[in-house]
């Protein structure tokens, strides 16, 4: 085997040939792994999964909105590959996308409505009984405590058509006033920031901007792990861009950056004000742009004067030089883009931090041109649909419940009496939960979200949910933490088992298709909402809402004349052929190019067409570390193979292999040494509110004095503190005081795998 080329002596060659006869080169096992040309432009695929047709749809995990080509046999999905000619992902996907079909087949799927009996046991019932019971219980509550005493918690995970139908049925038909989405947890701060600054909730960018920028500023974002396909776009940037990462941790993205600023958690607002001040001082601002297209700059300039480099350095833990360095790089950039995600949004001052990024884009004229923008990267696959059409805190089409002209418009467009439309917006998520606690809300309907894992400060949340008279949970799995608390569980069809559309981070409307049969009696959320309307006696109000495709036409009508107009999209077939279409796409003269950005004309959505400079004095952390709880606890995404509360990603064997089996806390080596802890050791992380047994994961990427817990473990939110941004009411998941100690052997979970240190 010297070089594998077989220049051997003769007798040996004969022996080899004889031995070769004893070699089974083919057979059942060999054939199992054979590959064959798949056709349809796919290249080779596993022989057992050669498709007879393919179709495209968007992924159902995050807001990147990748196109996936589904490989079909007799109409049913057998495999998938990322779509090469989809303008978002160009044939790439993260592991979640690759495994999107796997998680549909799981013994945990809900296959029948489950009703909890008087004995506390859940039993299977038919849909008729489920719907009758839900109607009877909710009606009884509403009769006794008023229509507002029943509320709903919706999601960014279902189709736009479905969330619009839910919002309409609940608020116009069932008389509810309060309903909010889990989108409150991920991008409410960005929504409010945009609304106030631009006059409409409008992320202005297109993903192509990541390839066009010569300076990319990422604030509280780790796209390498949270949005790998967006990071793909950065790696395809041919302009040798500056990549600046502002993040307390040295993340994968920070590793790849040209400049990483490890700010003290939640001091990013101060840093951004400091950068604004430095830019003004350096004269590196675009006076012409400020003059022509913005309002409030002078007051802003006066306000940031106190944020000199030394002050900012003191408050952020950075050096004054690095702050000036950051400002210098922004000043030198021709096409500077600012991107943020949960590090900014999930904060006690998230709106103002997002607006501080918007201010930097406005004052340097970095908006409306290729490679620029103040760009919020969204979380869930249809958070953007929820923002516009969920009919929760904003009226359908990004309208205002309190605006009577808006109500009249919607009433006319839907053929409803105006009086059916509430004249006030819904309570936000946190207020609904407090309403539950104070018994103002007695019935709750939770759709495709898992608050009993994801909501901040779990102990308080679970206490609150326990006081409900009737909890209905609608989910694809019977085993989510929230589903297990339900009085009535409604089995839902999942992504891939129903139709509709999603809107991604760059405003691209993408299509969902039915490529798998839902298990048992699970029904599309759309049809569950139709059934609820029927049983509630308001079905006739929604006759026109007969199918997702029909609702899409209604949504087009609702969008007409709004910034988010999509009336130019004929129907689902047009979306399919175009590989998704970004809003705005009006009927008159639509621009059909596949990469479009907003504000090229410098006109914003405020009546005067000007963007606003908005700012506020930074506020201290809601809970600072002290002697008793000396660490600052951060939470966030663990790996690209994990999604939120893991109800789906935990169902794929492949995904489970891609992250540590046991929950873990990341901590700095110096802190670990001081506490006598080492990697793999079981520890308990504690806050004033709870404790989480996890393994220690010692890494220099977490600064001293900080701890990082992935959000995917159920115990993480036992520790977090109910603190919110006052404007967006988004929970501040990413900073509270905590401590860590070695675990007692009684505290180590029973199912832990071969524990090395105990």
């Amino acid at each position: 085997m010297k070089n594998g080329r077989g220049h051997r002596r003769r007798p040996v060659a004969v022996i080899d040939r004889l031995l070769g006869l004893a070699r089974a080169r083919d057979g059942r096992l060999t054939r199992e792994l054979q590959r064959k040309p798949g056709g349809f432009g796919l290249g080779q695929v596993p022989t057992a999964k050669v498709p007879d047709a393919t179709t495209g749809m968007v992924c159902g995990f995050c807001s990147t909105g990748c196109g996936l080509t589904i490989h079909l046999r007799e109409g049913e999905a057998v495999n998938l590959t990322p779509t090469t000619d989809y303008p978002v992902n160009r044939g790439m996907a993260c592991p979640k996308g690759w495994e999107a079909l796997t998680v549909l087949a799981s013994p945990d799927r809900a296959v029948s409505p489950l009703l909890r009996g008087r004995d506390g046991q859940r039993r299977e019932v038919g849909w008729h009984e489920a719907m009758s019971t839900m109607t009877a219980r909710f009606r009884a509550i509403q009769q006794e405590h008023g229509p507002e005493s029943v509320a709903f918690l919706s999601t960014g995970q279902i189709a736009t058509e479905e969330m619009a139908l839910l919002g309409a049925v609940a608020k116009f038909g069932m008389g509810m006033v309060h309903g909010d989405g889990n989108t409150r947890q991920c991008m409410a701060s960005a929504v409010v920031a945009y609304k106030q600054a631009f006059g409409f909730d409008a992320p202005p960018y297109t993903y192509q901007d990541l390839e066009e920028s010569d300076c990319i500023v990422l604030i509280g974002a780790n796209p390498c792990i949270a949005h790998p396909v967006l990071w793909e776009r950065v790696t395809r940037n041919r302009h040798r861009p500056e990549v600046i990462v502002i993040d307390p941790r040295r993340t994968e993205t920070a590793m790849a950056a040209t400049l990483h600023l490890a700010v003290r958690p939640k001091s990013d607002l101060t840093l951004l004000y400091g950068v604004a001040n430095a830019l003004i001082e350096q004269g590196a601002i675009d006076h012409r742009y400020i003059e022509a297209h913005t309002q409030g700059f002078d007051a802003f300039a006066r306000f940031v004067r106190r944020f000199d480099p030394e002050t900012v350095a003191r408050e952020t833990g950075l050096s004054a030089e690095s702050i000036l360095d950051l400002a210098g790089r922004i000043a030198r950039g021709q096409r500077v883009s600012f991107w943020w995600t949960m590090g900014v949004n999930q904060s006690h001052q998230g709106v103002k931090t997002a607006q501080a990024a918007i201010n930097l884009a406005l004052m340097t004229g970095n908006i409306g041109r290729p490679g620029t923008g103040a760009n919020s990267i969204t979380g869930q696959c249809n958070a953007m649909g929820s923002r516009l059409y969920s009919n929760t805190t904003t009226l359908l089409g990004g309208r205002d419940f309190t605006n009577s002209a808006h109500r009249a418009e919607v009433a006319e467009l839907l053929g409803l009496p105006e009086g059916q439309i509430p004249d006030r917006p819904s309570w936000s998520y946190d207020r609904i939960i407090e309403g539950v606690r104070s018994r103002e809300i007695r019935g709750l309907w939770v759709i495709a979200t898992n608050p009993a894992h994801s909501w901040i400060e779990q102990t308080r949340l679970r206490e609150s949910l326990g006081t409900l008279d009737f909890l209905v949970v609608q989910d694809m799995y019977h085993s989510t933490e929230t589903a297990e608390l339900a009085d009535l569980l409604l089995p839902a069809a999942a992504w891939g088992e129903k139709e509709g559309t999603f809107i991604n981070s760059e405003r691209r409307i993408g299509l969902l298709k039915k490529v798998r049969r839902a298990p048992g009696q699970a029904l599309a959320d759309f049809h569950i909402f139709k059934l609820v309307a029927h049983y509630y006696g308001c079905g006739s109000m929604f006759n026109e809402w007969s199918s997702p495709a029909a609702v899409f036409q209604i949504l087009k009508r609702l969008s007409a004349g709004r910034p988010c107009e999509m009336s130019g999209i004929a129907d689902y077939h047009a979306l399919d052929a175009a590989r998704g279409i970004q809003w705005p796409f009006p009927r008159e003269n639509p621009d059909a190019s596949p990469q479009r950005r907003l504000f090229a004309d410098g006109r914003f959505y405020h009546p005067d067409g000007r963007a606003r400079f908005l700012f506020e004095e930074p506020r201290p952390l809601p809970e600072s570390p002290d002697q008793e709880f000396p660490f600052l606890l951060l939470t966030g995404r663990g790996s690209a193979a994990q999604w939120h509360t893991q109800t789906r990603t935990g169902k794929s064997d492949v995904l489970r292999k891609l992250y540590p089996r046991d929950p873990y806390v990341e901590m700095n080596p110096t802190d670990a040494e001081a506490l006598g802890l080492s990697t793999g050791r079981w520890v308990v992380v504690e806050s004033r509110r709870g404790a989480a047994p996890v393994r220690a994961f010692v890494t220099p990427t977490v600064p001293m004095g900080q701890l990082f817990l992935p959000m995917h473990d159920g115990s993480t939110n036992r520790l977090t503190l109910s603190a919110f941004d006052p404007e967006s009411r988004q929970p501040a998941y990413k900073a509270c005081a905590a401590r860590v100690r070695a675990a007692l052997s009684s505290e180590i979970p029973d199912n832990a795998n071969g524990s090395p240190n105990h």
């Binding site: 695929v45 792990i225 040295r250 029927h534 049983y535 690209a640 891609l658 220099p700 090395p756």
Partner: protein
């Protein structure tokens, strides 16, 4: 699970719920939803609506509703993105194909692992690619480095060399190391031999499978799944010069914290390795490995058998023509040996193909072990058979009798030697020939003596009547040697538990022995001490006249000593540090 078939429970039209009378009244009717159905003119009842929705849920509509794109496209569309990641030409003489990984571009998304799984149709949970994690750098500039890797298609593949059935081939042109799935019989020796943990055993198939660099795809000009799927173009296929690979490996250049490349000469090239002291992110905190019970049983019982025959031979050489206890002892040695060989079959994923095990004789120590023990078994069966059937004939030919026995012992010792080499050659320090050689020899001596003692004990206690005169007077001497041997062996093993603070594989072994495996270690010592020292001493101390007590003590000594050795051998497998690509916390 027991769910209702779609709609089955709804076929019966039940009367509407009393509360719903109002709901179902004509004024509040709604229409059947599916557009393709004729709209109902009559008021719809809830149960009918449910039935309609459930039936619609069963329709798969994507194909009929939407156009088929790329129906005629035979060429892969993705080629436009991956063509630059493939070599322009086939490897020439002195060259082969290799993976090239740009670590600066590997962001840890792990799409490559999932894509490899999907595009190759692997079983649920089966993955051929891994993404490891290195940590280090300085406090001021920490380094976090994900490392994607699959098979390194080595110049001298340890898997290929180890395989007893020649189920591995190295392609003479591409250098791709391919596994022949139908040839594999599931011995898993390659999984021990590969220092990068590449071949993966599939228990339900009973075979190992591994990455073949998607050789069919490469042949068709397509990129391997991982190359196609990496969003950041971190993985390429490259033509490498074999001499260059060899030279780099000899300089130790491969990847920090990975196994010494001069063992197998891996061809994967990792670029942009960040400077600084990079260490595996798991902090080298070890987890116990698989215990491989059938292998432990096989090793211990074959060694007992060989040890027994050795004791027998030694006894004969000291002038006792009938050995330890005549045929009884020989029978015991033979039965245990055969049991050990049967146990080894239990280890195989596809035991029906066990006969193939000799194919790799020229390179695989496992094949050699099989051949040596096969010979041992045949010689021993024939010899013991002759002793049983033609004792007089054999007694008349003392030279032949002794020579034959010596041959049995020689074959057995060769087998034990091969066993030592099987583990030695995979380059795990805990399995180095000096360690496993002493252990295996120790087991042979201790259990050989213990079984002789048990046999004598029974003979003395009147349990069995030997065919010839038994060497009862040897009892105290054998017991003494047994006790000394046991103490020496336990002492040697105890040394392995030390050094838990040291880094490296032996440190990890020590950590395991002191940590998660410490209870097993304790039990092993207890059994060893009781079976090898305490009970023999009691039996001797009992003194004449020997009775039933001695018989029981001696038998129990053998049972406990064997159990102790089995635990020792289980620890041999469980406490070894498995070399692999550097990784994070166990998944």
């Amino acid at each position: 699970m027991g769910f209702h078939e779609a709609g089955s429970s709804l076929a019966v039209v039940s009367p509407p719920h009393p509360n719903l009378a109002q709901v179902l009244a004509p004024s509040s009717s709604s229409t059947l939803a599916p557009a393709r159905r004729a709209p109902a003119r009559e008021p719809v009842r809830g149960d009918r609506l449910i039935g309609a929705y459930l039936s619609e849920q069963g329709d798969l509509s994507a194909v009929e509703q939407f156009a088929q794109f790329h129906a005629e496209t035979a060429e892969p569309l993705q080629e436009r993105y991956y063509s630059a990641l493939l070599p322009a030409a086939q490897p020439g003489p002195g060259q082969q194909l290799a993976f090239e990984v740009d670590l600066e571009r590997c962001s840890g998304c792990k799409a490559c692992v999932a894509a490899c799984h999907s595009l190759n149709g692997l079983d649920e949970g089966e993955t051929w690619r891994d993404v490891g994690l290195l940590l280090g750098g300085t406090g001021a500039l920490p380094v976090l480095q994900h490392v994607t890797s699959a098979c390194h298609h080595c110049l001298e593949p340890a898997c290929l060399k180890a395989c007893p059935v020649d189920a591995y081939e190295k392609d003479p042109i591409t250098g791709i190391v391919k596994h022949l799935d139908d040839q594999c019989f599931g011995c898993q020796y390659c999984t021990l031999a590969c220092p990068y943990d590449v071949p993966k055993y599939q228990p339900d198939k009973g075979i190992v499978r591994k990455c073949d660099m998607c050789s069919d795809r490469l042949r068709a000009g397509e990129a391997p799944a991982c190359v196609q799927a990496c969003p950041h173009e971190a993985i390429r296929i490259k033509v490498v010069d074999i001499d260059e690979v060899r030279a780099r490996a000899e300089q130790g250049a491969f990847l920090p914290a990975a196994h010494d490349p001069a063992y197998t000469f891996p061809t994967t090239q990792f670029h942009s390795i960040r400077p600084g002291d990079l260490r595996p992110a798991d902090g080298e905190c070890p987890t116990p490995e698989h215990g491989h019970a059938p292998l432990a049983l096989m090793l211990v019982l074959t060694q007992l058998s060989v040890g027994g025959f050795l004791v027998e031979l030694t006894t004969r050489l000291t002038g006792r023509a009938d050995g330890v206890a005549g045929l009884a002892f020989l029978g015991i040695c033979l039965v245990f040996g055969l049991l050990g060989l049967v146990a080894s079959l239990l280890h195989l994923g596809r035991p029906l193909y066990a006969y193939r095990a000799v194919l790799g004789f020229r390179h695989s120590w496992l094949s050699r072990e099989v051949v040596a023990f096969g010979l041992f078994a045949k010689l021993a069966v024939a010899y013991v058979g002759a002793e049983a059937l033609f004792p007089a004939w054999l007694a008349g030919r003392p030279g032949l009798r002794l020579g034959w026995l010596a041959l049995v012992v020689a074959a057995g010792l060769a087998g034990v030697g091969c066993s030592v080499m099987v583990y030695h050659v995979v380059r795990r320090p805990f399995w180095h020939a000096t360690r496993s050689g002493l252990k295996f020899a120790g087991t042979a001596i201790v259990l050989g003596l213990a079984s002789a003692l048990a046999c004598l004990g029974m003979a003395r206690g009147g349990g069995i009547e030997s065919t010839g005169g038994s060497s009862v007077d040897l009892f105290p001497a054998l017991a003494t040697v047994l006790a000394l041997g046991t103490v020496a062996k336990l002492g040697f093993e105890a040394m392995e538990g030390r050094g838990a603070r040291e880094s490296g594989p032996l440190g990890q072994t020590a950590q395991l022995l002191q940590g998660p495996l410490r209870q097993v270690v304790g039990l092993r010592r207890l059994l060893g001490g009781a079976g090898g020292v305490l009970l023999p001493a009691l039996a001797v101390a009992g003194g004449a006249p020997y009775g039933l007590g001695v018989s029981v003590a001696a038998t129990l000594a053998l049972v406990l000593a064997t159990a102790g050795e089995l635990l020792e051998r289980s620890l041999f497998f469980r406490a070894v540090a498995r070399p692999r690509m550097p990784g994070g916390l166990p998944s």
